[in-house]
C-alpha cells in the first residue's frame, strides 16, 4: 500500500507541475469566471436563474470538453513513459505492476477531478458571497456526475494507454473515441431514428450506454424531472425506472464502466512486454 500511495502522490505532484494541468485548471476555472462576468447568474432562461442557471451552463460545456481533456492528458501516462524509456527505469525497482498501475490511476484521477470540482466550489462560494440562493441538490448531483464522468474517461484512457505503443496513436484513438461518443449524443442517433431502421427502444438504449449521453440526460433531470425536453425519450427512460433510480444509474454506470476499462487496461499492462 505504501508504494501505491507513493506512486499516486508522485504522479499527482508531477501533474501539478505540468503545463497541461495549468491550462486544464484555467479552462474550467475560467469558465466559471466568465459566466459571472457575463452575468449568467442574473439571466433567466426557462425559469432557471442564479447559480442553478450557471451550474447548468457549466455542466453542459463540461459534457463536451471534459472527456477530451481527460483522454488527451491521460492517454499518454503509460504509453508516454514507455515511449521515453521512463517506464524501463522506474520499473527496474522492486515495485509491483499492480501498485504502479493503480497508483498512476489514483494520482491521475485526483488531478483531473479536482479542478472541475473546485471550479464548482468557487462558483458556490462566490454565489453565496453575492447573496444568491445555493442549489445544494444540483451541487451534489453534479459533483456525483463529474466524479462518474471523470472515472469513465480515465478508465478508457488508461485502457488505451496500456496497449498502445506510441503516444501519437494513443492521441489519435482518443480523438476518435471522443468524436464517436459525441456524434452518438444526437447526430447519428437522430439520423438512425429518422430512417426507422431500428426500434426506438434500441436506439435509446444505445444512446444511454454512452456515458456522455447519460451524463447529459442526468444533468437536466433535476430541472426537468419529467424529462419533457427530451420528448419521447423520456417515455422510455421514466417507463423503465424512476427518476431517483435513473440518477443513481447515471452515476454508478459510468463509474463501473471506468473501473472495468481500467481493470482491462491493467490486465493488458500485466500480460504484455513492459517496454
Amino acid at each position: 500500500m505504501k508504494n501505491l500511495y507513493l506512486i499516486a502522490y508522485l504522479d499527482l505532484k508531477e501533474s501539478l507541475r505540468a503545463k497541461w494541468f495549468v491550462v486544464y485548471s484555467l479552462v474550467f476555472g475560467g469558465l466559471i469566471a466568465l459566466f459571472f462576468i457575463a452575468g449568467v447568474t442574473e439571466s433567466q432562461v426557462m425559469g432557471f436563474s442564479g447559480l442553478s442557471r450557471l451550474l447548468l451552463m457549466y455542466i453542459q460545456i463540461t459534457i463536451v470538453i471534459l472527456p477530451i481533456f481527460i483522454l488527451i492528458t491521460t492517454v499518454r501516462s503509460i504509453s508516454g513513459d514507455r515511449d521515453s524509456h521512463v517506464l524501463e527505469y522506474m520499473l527496474s525497482f522492486p515495485i509491483s505492476l499492480k501498485q504502479y498501475y493503480w497508483g498512476k490511476v489514483i494520482g491521475r484521477f485526483i488531478t483531473v477531478f479536482l479542478p472541475v470540482f473546485f471550479a464548482m466550489v468557487i462558483a458556490i462560494i462566490y454565489g453565496a458571497f453575492k447573496g444568491a440562493a445555493i442549489p445544494w441538490n444540483l451541487f451534489f448531483l453534479y459533483t456525483g456526475l463529474l466524479f462518474a464522468m471523470s472515472s469513465a474517461f480515465l478508465g478508457i484512457a488508461f485502457f488505451i494507454s496500456s496497449f498502445v505503443k506510441s503516444s501519437e496513436v494513443a492521441l489519435g484513438l482518443s480523438f476518435f473515441i471522443w468524436i464517436f461518443l459525441l456524434a452518438f449524443i444526437d447526430i447519428a442517433l437522430i439520423s438512425l431514428m429518422m430512417q426507422e431502421r431500428m426500434s426506438s427502444g434500441l436506439i435509446i438504449f444505445i444512446s444511454l450506454i454512452n456515458p456522455m449521453e447519460i451524463f447529459r440526460v442526468a444533468a437536466i433531470s433535476l430541472f426537468d424531472p419529467q424529462l419533457t425536453v427530451m420528448g419521447p425519450v423520456a417515455f422510455y427512460i421514466l417507463d423503465s425506472m424512476s427518476q431517483t433510480v435513473f440518477v443513481l444509474v447515471s452515476i454508478l454506470y459510468p463509474v463501473t464502466l471506468g473501473l472495468v476499462f481500467a481493470f482491462l487496461g491493467y490486465k493488458i499492462f500485466e500480460k504484455k512486454d513492459l517496454v
Binding site: 507513493l6 508531477e14 521512463v86 527505469y89 527496474s92 525497482f93
Partner: protein, 212 residues
C-alpha cells in the same frame, strides 16, 4: 546467479534472441558486446523481466523475473544507456527509490558526492533538467547505493568526462566483490580493466564467450 536457458524472443517476424543460453555467476564481470540489433538490450530486458519470452527461460537466483518480480528486482541495479526524461525532482526520485527499494538516501548522497555531484543543492530540480553527465552520475550513485548482487550497466560511461569515468571505475572496484557486473558496451577498452569475461552477440545469438 543468472541462468538463461534456450531463450528466444521474437518481435513480429524478427528474432531478437535465438535460443540463447548462458550463465553468470558471482564475482563475474561481463562485457556484453555486439553490433546494433545483436540482441544485447533484449537479453538485458529479459533478465529484468520486461519481456515475455517466446521460448526458454531466465532464472535469477532460481526465480523467474516476471513471476517473482519483486524478489528478483531487489537484487538488481540497472543504469540505462540514456538517462530517461524523468519529470520528478531529484528529491522525489530519491523518495521513490528509498521507499520502493529501501535504499538509504544518505548512501545515494554519499556515492553522488564521490562522483563529484552535489545532490543537496539540486534536490528540488527536475531530474530531466540536469545535464547528461549529472543524470548519469546520479543513476550510477543510485545503482551503487542499492547494494544489489547484480549490477547491469548499459554504456554507463557514455555521458561521463574522463575524470568522472575514473571515479566510476574506482567506486566499482570498491564494490565488485560477490557480485555479477554486466556491462553492455561497444568499447571493450573502457571496461577492460573491470571485466573478466567477454560475450559477443550477433543476430540474436552468442557467437563468442571468453573468460580471462
Amino acid at each position: 546467479m543468472i541462468k538463461v536457458a534456450n531463450l528466444t524472443k521474437k518481435f513480429g517476424s524478427n528474432i531478437s534472441l535465438d535460443s540463447v543460453s548462458c550463465e553468470f555467476k558471482k564475482n563475474e564481470s561481463i562485457a556484453l558486446m555486439g553490433a546494433n540489433g545483436a540482441g544485447k538490450t533484449t537479453l538485458v530486458r529479459s533478465i529484468m523481466g520486461y519481456y515475455h519470452p517466446n521460448d526458454g527461460e531466465v532464472l535469477i537466483n532460481g526465480l523467474n523475473p516476471i513471476k517473482n518480480r519483486l524478489d528478483v528486482l531487489e537484487h538488481i541495479s540497472f543504469v540505462p544507456q540514456l538517462p530517461p526524461p524523468i519529470r520528478l525532482s531529484i528529491g522525489e526520485l530519491m523518495e521513490y527509490i528509498s521507499v520502493s527499494a529501501k535504499v538509504d538516501k544518505e548512501l545515494i548522497k554519499y556515492y553522488a558526492a564521490e562522483m563529484k555531484l552535489d545532490i543537496s543543492a539540486n534536490l528540488n530540480k527536475s531530474f530531466f533538467k540536469l545535464s547528461g553527465g549529472m543524470k548519469q552520475k546520479l543513476l550510477i550513485a543510485i545503482s551503487l547505493a542499492k547494494k544489489s548482487d547484480i549490477i547491469i550497466y548499459d554504456e554507463p560511461t557514455a555521458n561521463l568526462d574522463p575524470k568522472a569515468r575514473d571515479d566510476f571505475y574506482r567506486l566499482l572496484k570498491q564494490n565488485e566483490d560477490d557480485k555479477v557486473l554486466l556491462f553492455v558496451t561497444h568499447r571493450l577498452e573502457e571496461v577492460k580493466d573491470l571485466v573478466n569475461r567477454q560475450i559477443y552477440m550477433d543476430l540474436g545469438k552468442i557467437v563468442s564467450d571468453e573468460r580471462f
